[in-house]
Each structure stands twice: as C-alpha cells, then as structure tokens.
C-alpha cells in the first residue's frame, strides 16, 4: 500500500494525484492513538481537491478540540480493497516478553475483546489456535456472500510480526489495526500501523504506517 506523510494540504493533494484516487487521509500524531474519535480519518476521497479538503477538515476538527498542537501532519494512502478487518498487535509484558494479539472488531475491538494471545515467538500451530479461538474469525470463511478471506496470508503476517519483535526487542507496542484480510490469494494488508519503541532515552511513537503481506 503506497502511503506517505504530508505536512500541508497542498502536499496531501499532490500525493493523492501521485498515488491515484481514491485515497485515505489520516491524522499523523505522536500522541493521539484514536484517530477516528478526533475526526482524523477521511476515507474514499475521489480526487486531489477532496484530499486537500480532508487535510483542512482534520485540522479544523482538532482545532475545535483544542488539540491542533498534536497534529504532526497527515498520511495519504491508497485505499485498500475490501476485506475482513482484523487487528494484529504486540504488547510487551515485563515477565513474559512480547505478547501477540489477534482479533476482530475494528474500532469496537476494545469493547468486544474477541481476541486471542500468543507469546513470541509463535509457531504455525499458534496462528491456527489464535485464529480458531476468536469467535469473529468465522467471518474469514466468507460471510453474507463475501468470498472466503486469505487466511494463509493473515497467518503469514502474524508469524512475520512475531519474527519482527524477536529481531527488534526494542518494539514495545504495536498496532496493525485494521489488518484487512482480502479474498483468497489476494493477501492481507495492514491499513494502519503504529509502533512504539523503547528508546535508549524516552520511548517514541512512530505513527501512520502501513504494511502489506
């Protein structure tokens, strides 16, 4: 998924043209985790003017909340194709090390808590278990006429995240949310990603990234 940061509305418009519409424009902030809640996510923008307008809208929304200082810019991103939205994430436990989470629920994931955990490194069998123990995973089989989702690609992504945090133990937290699981053979895309690193000094936040597997 091509994506890039834009510091100004004009940059956002230029990137939209470069990537080809439709695009998504999302708030880039080191401090605000929940972008949707602050009006920081604009999807399915049909042209560069709309991308430009989205920048201003996000800026105004934050202004209304008195949080404009927390805006570092926006990320302009090609719209991901339709799929089943899942979350894959990492949390660091002081005793157990890196914990991987997989679940469903999109923005409601924290309420539904329909998730399963694994301790890194996870094995192939753990991805089966984690996916199998989440109720919402039935949606991956094809729901209401949707084609079955690319579960092997999802498993692959989970195993790669496991490898990543083993290679880079300084990763303290990570959200790939949502990970959109496309129809069989089409892969799984991390539409949004946040990684928190344990600093040599103070942990920093790396926001607004995307991944594709």
């Amino acid at each position: 998924m091509p994506a890039a940061s834009a510091k100004t509305a004009d940059d956002a418009a230029r990137l939209a043209k470069q990537f080809g519409v439709p695009v998504a424009v999302k708030l880039e902030s080191r401090t605000l985790t929940h972008k949707t809640e602050v009006g920081g996510v604009k999807l399915n923008l049909k042209d560069d003017a709309a991308a430009q307008q989205a920048f201003y809208d996000i800026q105004n929304a934050l202004k209304t909340l008195g949080k404009e200082q927390e805006m570092d810019g926006v990320v302009v991103q090609e719209m991901a194709p339709a799929g089943v939205e899942t979350i894959v994430g990492v949390s660091l436990d002081p005793a157990f090390g890196h914990l991987l989470v997989y679940g469903l629920g999109g923005v409601a994931v924290e309420i539904l808590k329909d998730v399963a955990w694994g301790i890194a490194p996870i094995a192939d069998l753990d991805t089966d278990r984690m996916i199998g123990s989440v109720k919402g995973s039935k949606m991956l089989a094809g729901f209401r006429g949707a084609p079955p989702a690319d579960v092997p690609a999802l498993k692959d992504l989970m195993l790669r995240v496991s490898q990543l945090v083993c290679d880079f133990p300084e990763i303290e937290e990570m959200d790939l949310n949502p990970v959109r699981v496309l129809p069989v053979g089409k892969g799984a895309i991390a539409v949004d990603a946040r990684i928190k690193l344990a600093g040599p000094k103070k942990p920093q936040s790396v926001a607004g990234a995307a991944a594709a597997c």
């Binding site: 998924m1 994506a3 890039a4 940061s5 880039e28 985790t33 990320v75 979350i87 994430g89 949390s91 436990d93 002081p94 005793a95 157990f96 090390g97 914990l99 989470v101 994931v109 924290e110 998730v115 955990w117 694994g118 301790i119 490194p121 996870i122 094995a123 192939d124 069998l125 753990d126 278990r129 123990s133 195993l159 790669r160 995240v161 490898q163 990543l164 880079f168 300084e170 990763i171 937290e173 990570m174 959200d175 790939l176 949310n177 990603a193 946040r194 990684i195 928190k196 690193l197 600093g199 040599p200 920093q204 936040s205 790396v206 926001a207 990234a209 995307a210 991944a211 594709a212 597997c213």
Partner: protein
C-alpha cells in the same frame, strides 16, 4: 536438568531444629519422618536437647557421626545462614529450608543464602516452604508437616502455596488419587517449578504433573519445557494471582486489550498445559488422567437410569464441544435385547429407574464395543431397588472383561456421592474416576479431549522469513533519531517512508 536425587531419594536425613514436642513445626516434621518410616536414618539436631522424641539428638549437624544427604532446616531465620554453611562443610547434598522471613520476594538475605548454597554445591527447596514428600516405597519420606500420608501413586505435585498444598494432600486421599511426589516450593530461590517439571519428565514413576502456581520465574523456559513434556505427560495447573501487564498505562489498542490474564492464558494455550479454574477441578482432572487413557476423539456415550441427569450431562457435554454421538443400529438392537420398551436406546441411553446392576454391566459392554464411541459416562442415581455397590461392581466387571475398554475413556457419576463409600472404592479399584455431578465429569472430559487433540498435532514450526533486517534496523534507529517518522512493513521486511 538438576540432579534432585538427594532431595527425592536421600539415604539419610537430618532435621535441624527438630522439636522435642509435637505441635511445633520442627517437632511435626521429625515425627512424620519417623511415623511414615523413612527407610534411612533420621538425625535430630537440636542445640538445647539431648533427646528429641526418644531419639538421641546432636547439638549441630557437624556432630552427626554419619553422612547426611538431606537436611531439613527449621531454625529461626537468623540462624539459617550459619546452619547452611555447616551443612555444606558436612557434605550435605540437598536442603529443605522451612524457615521464613527472607523478604519472601528475594531480598539480600535470600541472595546471600542462595550464593552459599550454590558455592557449596547443594540444592535447596525454599526458603519459606512447607516441605517435601515422596511415597516411593524405597524412600517413604514425609519431610513436611502434612497431617496426611496420601496413597502411593503416579501423580507429582508442585505447590507454590504450602498451606494449600497440605490441605490438598488430604483431599487427594479422600478421592483416592495416588501421589508420587509433593513439593512445597516456597520462595523458589534455588529449585524452581521448571526444575521440578523437568525432573518429573524424566521420572518413570510420574505420569501426571500437577502445579499450583502463583507466579512464573522464567516463563520462556516454562513454555519450552512444557511444550516438550506435555507431549508425553499431562501437566495440569491452576494459576492464581495476576500478571503485571494490565497495570501499565496503555497507549495502543493492543496495550488496552492486554488484560491481567492474557499472558498466562497464552502461555497455557501455547503449551497445552491443562488449566483449571479451581483446585477442585485440578483434582477432577488428575483423577481422569491418572486412571484413564486420553480420549481419542470428542465422541462419547452416556448411560443413565434417570432422564434428568442424562439431559444435564448431555447439555454439559455438548456445550463444551463434546459430541453425544448417534449409536449404530447394531448397538441399539443389542440394547433393545435386554432393556424394557420404555427405555431409550438412543444416546443418551436411558435405562429408566428399573435398571438393574446387570443391565448396567450389559450396557457398558455394548456401548464400549460401538466404534463410534470413544468415551463413556456412566450415570447412576440411587433408587430404592438397586444398590450402588452392586452397580459399581457390575461396571467394574464389565470393564475388566471388555477388551475395548482399554482404549476408551470411562467416567462415572454416582449422583451426589462424595467421599469414599463402598461403591466408589470399587470404582477406584477399577480405575474409574467418579464425580458427584455430571457437569464436573463433562468439564474434565472436555479438557482431556482438548489435550488429546493437541497431542496429536504435528510438531510446531517456527518459520524464519527472509527479511530486510538492515532496512528495518535503519528505520527503527531513524525513528529514534528523528522526532517523527513513518515506515512500512511489507513482505520483504521494512521500508522507510519516502
């Protein structure tokens, strides 16, 4: 693996701080070692007494004239360090330190003690533990102040709570669960739960490992060990207490989702350690695993003499993923051959209240011979006309004479029966675990089925993807250097923002 021979099979024991009177900890431990007839000599060490419970006492471990393999230390905290140093010089190989007051979280005193123990080449259980017990007839050691000597058996048990552990020994006896080793691990300064499960893995006399856990010293090691051991021997654990994960402020969705128990849940799921919610379930589980084979599938048959409990059992089983399987025509024909027309020959088989002990025997035989059936739950509600002991005897007889019984998992539920009435003694002798209510049997069976399913899985594979680690490293260090940056993960690894 640590050598724990001197702990579990010492040739001689000294009790340092052995009390003259019973009722004190040092008095009870010495008494228990004598009462249960430890097979080697036991030397009481007491600085103030010449005689302890009719046995000549020694003022110090140094004064004991013979070799001592194991010392049980029951002296006040401030004397422990000196006593341990003396033990080292004496050539003692293993220590059980009952004495408490070491900060219980591992303060400086405990660190010093551990350093001494290691330097002198000893192994130590504790401090702050309630002792060690082994029923091995060649040893017969009750180096604890447990009031109960459990029946000899093949279940080994490590408890992080000493008091609970001792109460549990009592319960094990009541249920007729045979114990091999019991260890109260205390502060786990030296010998840890991981060391014990590794020891029991290699112990040919241990079939089932039970753990009462409050914390994990080294979770990653536990995962690696348990993954390997559980393929051969079931590990059943009950975990109390909470991990610290939930107490941190979370700045991500994942962090917010990380509940207090998610790490522990993952750990058990990943290793297929059978986790129970309560101590009672821990023992329900061990009754099953110590006596019966792990179920080959989730398909079971239920036979009962009362409709209600049959339905309760069916609901309890099906809600936990067990299948009360349809019986073959041949099986149902055989059942019709001896059951009244009012009986139901469909699974759950309801033989109605008039069912005799003989009908139970026949039904058990017929159901076990049905190839669709991998487990059998025998429910009996005591009516007036049929006696429970007769039914238990008929079930036991049927199992002994049906070859198919050996590969199948059999449980009983003699409704409301607790303790060890005659019928349960009969069932225990026939190695049939018996539960007071159908739900408990269903829970234990479903956990055993899940465990069996895990055992049949292939070995786990940890794939190593070819990734661009250098670029990921660069992106990470870049993110640290700059105030902000974005980067992507993709199939080939990590790519920096353009």
């Amino acid at each position: 693996m640590l050598d724990l021979n001197a702990l579990f099979a010492p040739r001689s024991i000294a009790v340092i701080g052995a009390g003259r009177e019973r009722g004190s900890v040092g008095g009870e431990i010495f008494h228990n070692l004598l009462t249960h007839a430890f097979t080697g000599p036991v030397y009481p060490v007491n600085a103030k007494a010449k005689t302890v419970q009719s046995v000549r006492a020694y003022p110090s471990i140094k004064d004991v004239p013979d070799e001592v393999d194991l010392a049980v230390i029951v002296v006040p905290r401030d004397f422990v360090q000196g006593v341990v140093e003396d033990c080292g010089r004496k050539g003692v190989k293993a220590l059980i330190v009952i004495s408490a007051g070491f900060g219980e979280t591992g303060g400086a005193l405990q660190a010093k003690l551990l350093a001494t123990v290691r330097k002198l080449g000893m192994r130590m259980v504790g401090p702050n533990c309630l002792g060690v017990l082994t029923t091995d007839p060649a040893v017969r050691m009750d180096a604890s102040f447990a009031p109960t000597w459990p029946p000899q058996g093949r279940v080994s048990f490590s408890s992080q709570s000493g008091a609970l552990g001792l109460a549990i020994l009592d319960y094990a006896k009541e249920l007729g669960i045979g114990v091999r080793n019991f260890v109260s691990v205390g502060n786990k300064a030296d010998v840890s739960g991981n060391d014990l499960i590794e020891w029991w893995e290699a112990d040919p006399e241990t079939d089932v490992i039970l753990l009462y856990l409050e914390s994990f010293g080294n979770p990653q090691k536990f995962i690696n060990l348990a993954r390997r051991i559980a393929k051969e021997k079931p590990i059943v654990a009950v975990k109390s207490g909470r991990t610290a994960a939930g107490s941190r402020a979370a700045s991500s969705h994942t962090g917010a989702l990380a509940g207090e128990d998610s790490a522990v849940d993952a750990l058990f799921a990943q290793t297929s350690v059978i986790r129970t919610d309560t101590i009672e379930e821990l023992f329900d589980m061990s009754m099953l695993l110590a006596n019966q084979p792990v179920p080959a599938s989730n398909r079971l048959a239920i036979v009962t003499n009362a409709g209600g409990p049959g339905i309760m059992a069916t609901d309890a089983c099906e809600s936990r993923g067990l299948v009360v399987t349809p019986l073959s025509e041949a099986t149902m024909d055989k059942l019709r051959g001896f059951l009244p027309s009012e009986a139901s020959v469909k699974n759950p088989v309801d033989m109605i209240v008039s069912a005799s002990a003989e009908s139970y025997g026949k039904a058990v035989r017929v159901l076990l011979e049905d190839p669709q059936v991998n487990s059998l739950l025998v429910i009996f509600v005591p009516p007036i006309i049929t006696e429970a002991p007769a039914v238990a005897a008929a079930v036991r007889e049927a199992l002994a004479t049906t070859p198919a019984a050996k590969e199948k998992t059999i449980l009983a539920c003699f409704l409301g029966t607790r303790g060890v009435p005659e019928s349960l003694v009969t069932l225990q002798a026939g190695k049939v675990p018996s539960y007071a209510f159908p739900e408990a049997a269903a829970i234990a069976l479903s956990r055993a089925v899940d465990y069996g399913k895990w055992k049949r899985l292939p070995e786990p594979v940890f794939p190593q993807f070819r990734v661009e680690k250098d670029r990921a490293a660069k992106a990470i260090s870049g993110a640290r250097d700059k105030a902000i940056s974005s980067f992507w993960l993709d199939a080939s690894g990590v790519r920096e923002d353009g």
